[in-house]
Symmetry: C2
């Protein structure tokens, strides 16, 4: 992609009404644009990051046997009344059609849709287990939305739902899902700061598990057991006598964190509400056992920036960077332009994702400052100085040292 | 994909409350499930079709210089008041936050978002033209929604917006977009029944253009000029003295049709509302000239079924079929199973998308009826009879003749 063809702009100053670091940097670097509190337009480079996140998550969901679907955001009141959540679910957007006078909820989650869907399939024991997932836009009527992409009123989520004949099967699937989640956060460059966290299991399970990523921007408090490498959410700490649920160590470390994922044994909570049963081997109707597994995709975009930035800008992990290489042409000499254009072509031919700063009307200092702000993994500079030695100046965004290499070496190393 | 692993079911009978052919067939074949009138869950095979449609459209949008973004569905009242459409736009879902008391619209279109976004970029003449598009979920508070996927209360659309320095540049871009749209509908297997149709240009353009696909399920009436191969929407027929806007032929043929796309010269209608200007060569602020270009993606899913079906079920055009081959194993003999499993493996290795009916508990008649209902382009049957000759029985969904071929021939022909 040529930067001259972009329509987005980097901003020198953070927008005044935006207090969160992730939104400030994502807006300054041109990844998102704010529409109102908690609601953003995702610009091309932001969308490229989201698609990489979706790719990592989607392939793990398919490996878990998940089939992809797309459920609606517009949901009928009757379904939410059937679970009792029309009145009790905080932050549910509700409204009425002008024409039909029907009442709707805007879905913050999809148990109220997926459970009757499976009920319609008339499952037998031979059909189980099954799992389905979606990557879909959700809505929450948040009282406050000051954490940028960490807490949106509209946001993308991946949610997977699993359906089992008995609790033992759910338990073994749940373990697999937990490992898949570990791999997801590790692949995304968040593994080292993301803790499996014991959280409330509601009235029907002992625990649920959250994946909490350490960041001072987080709105949750977790208590880490360094012996077990797990954490406890503050909400259940007292119930656990202020100790680790695994080893009962009470020397826990308090940290701020953001919940990037959660997995929950729903058991028969929603099956009971919608009479979701299957016929067992003896032809007897038996409640289906359910689990649900969520990841906040737009929230991960914000979390990645909170975790991976410095005072100059974003430092994207390679797995989610919108481009791998930021190729920067310095000066408007024809030979420099030819060298850079040729390198750009060769990078594209090799299948390398490259952002090419081909602009003539921007100063060297601005180009470098922008490159640091945007934060692509590798900066490759072509200037009169470098081409005089038939070389390119390479610098990693995460390091300080620049080095001169030939084009051949550069292409080989990528 | 193995059919034994699917969770969806085909239905013998059409749902009683669904009068449209597209929804009846898509529900019976397990592509969608109805949540309420005008709102559907897209099941795995339906999503596969949507992704193929999106692929065809997306590549044409990129060829038009469009950069992809994702704008929000949740839109502030202020933006809709600024264009005057808060009160005048029919079928706008409007509601109020319980916590903040802010009022929102659920976006049926995005001029109210994209125009202030571009305004924030402080464009100069050197930045123009620019184009951006999204594939995104839209909402309409429809008084009636009886046409299945043709008229949803929630639906996927592709919308592209273009920004120009002058009308001449818009005109030339608009021509290119028109040709891109022709290619899209042609690639999707709808070219032969889709007419460029003159429609109202509002108060600021002489015409807009719709792409109308002929089907008795359509809610629009168009008048085709067979000399020019264009049509006129009923809404402007009288203004055109009941004649063709191109050749003034008044021998027009009335047809029912569904609007699958539209392109519109917005000119300065929205630029004026949001003060979207650019600095021209002399540094003078000048209104940006805009165009917009929409395609209904979920609507295309329904339209494809209305156009391509027979009394047995759907007949997918190859470009959008969820799988190319429906491999059907007949009988539970071990040799038949081995042959079919091996063929399945070889098809996958060759990169062929194949649905494998590997089920043992379904009769031959049911398997064939389901295959016709689902409508994949090629049916490949493996049975005791065929493997006795070391062959496979091949039949196109669009034809009547079955033929026996060797696996080698079959793989070569695909």
């Amino acid at each position: 992609m040529r930067q001259s063809e972009f329509f987005t702009r980097t901003l020198r100053e953070a927008p005044k009404d935006e207090v969160s670091i992730n939104a400030q940097l994502l807006m300054r670097a041109g990844f998102v644009s704010k529409v109102m509190a908690g609601v953003y337009t995702i610009l091309p480079m932001g969308l490229a990051v989201l698609k990489k996140i979706e790719g990592v998550i989607g392939s793990e969901m398919i490996a878990l046997g998940g089939l992809e679907v797309l459920m609606p955001a517009l949901q009928p009141k009757a379904n939410w009344e059937q679970t009792g959540r029309w009145q009790t679910y905080d932050s549910l957007f509700k409204f009425t059609s002008f024409y039909t006078k029907n009442e709707y909820a805007l879905g913050p989650t999809h148990e109220e849709i997926v459970t009757p869907l499976f009920q319609s399939f008339n499952l037998s024991y031979r059909d189980l287990p099954k799992a389905m997932f979606q990557i879909q836009t959700k809505f929450r009527d948040e009282a406050r939305a000051k954490s940028g992409l960490l807490r949106g009123r509209e946001f993308l989520m991946k949610d997977l739902y699993s359906f089992h004949a008995d609790e033992k099967d759910l338990d073994s699937y749940y373990e697999k899902a937990r490992e898949a989640y570990r791999r997801i956060f590790s692949k995304l460059g968040l593994g080292h700061v993301t803790f499996l966290t014991f959280a409330s299991g509601g009235s029907f399970s002992e625990y649920s598990h959250e994946f909490q990523t350490l960041t001072s921007a987080g709105e949750d408090l977790i208590y880490i057991c360094d012996k077990c490498d797990v954490a406890v959410n503050k909400e259940i700490l007292q119930d656990q006598n202020n100790s680790c649920p695994e080893c009962r160590n009470s020397d826990l470390r308090e940290e701020k964190a953001v919940e990037v994922g959660n997995i929950f044994k729903l058991k028969t909570k929603y099956s009971d509400a919608f009479n979701l049963t299957y016929k067992n081997e003896n032809g007897v109707s038996t409640p289906v056992i359910m689990g649900c597994y969520g990841v906040g995709i737009t929230r991960l975009l914000g979390t990645l920036v909170e975790v991976h930035h410095d005072d100059k800008g974003i430092v994207w992990p390679e797995a989610v960077a919108p481009f791998k290489v930021h190729l920067i042409k310095i000066g408007d000499k024809r030979e420099v332009g030819d060298f850079a254009e040729n390198l750009y072509k060769n990078l594209l031919e090799k299948g390398i994702e490259v952002l090419f700063d081909d602009r003539d009307d921007v100063s060297v200092g601005e180009k470098f400052a922008e490159a640091d702000l945007i934060g692509l993994p590798i900066r490759a500079v072509v200037s009169e100085k470098t081409i005089s030695k038939n070389q390119i100046e390479i610098k990693k965004r995460s390091g300080d040292l620049a080095s001169l290499v030939s084009e051949e070496e550069f292409l080989k190393e990528l």
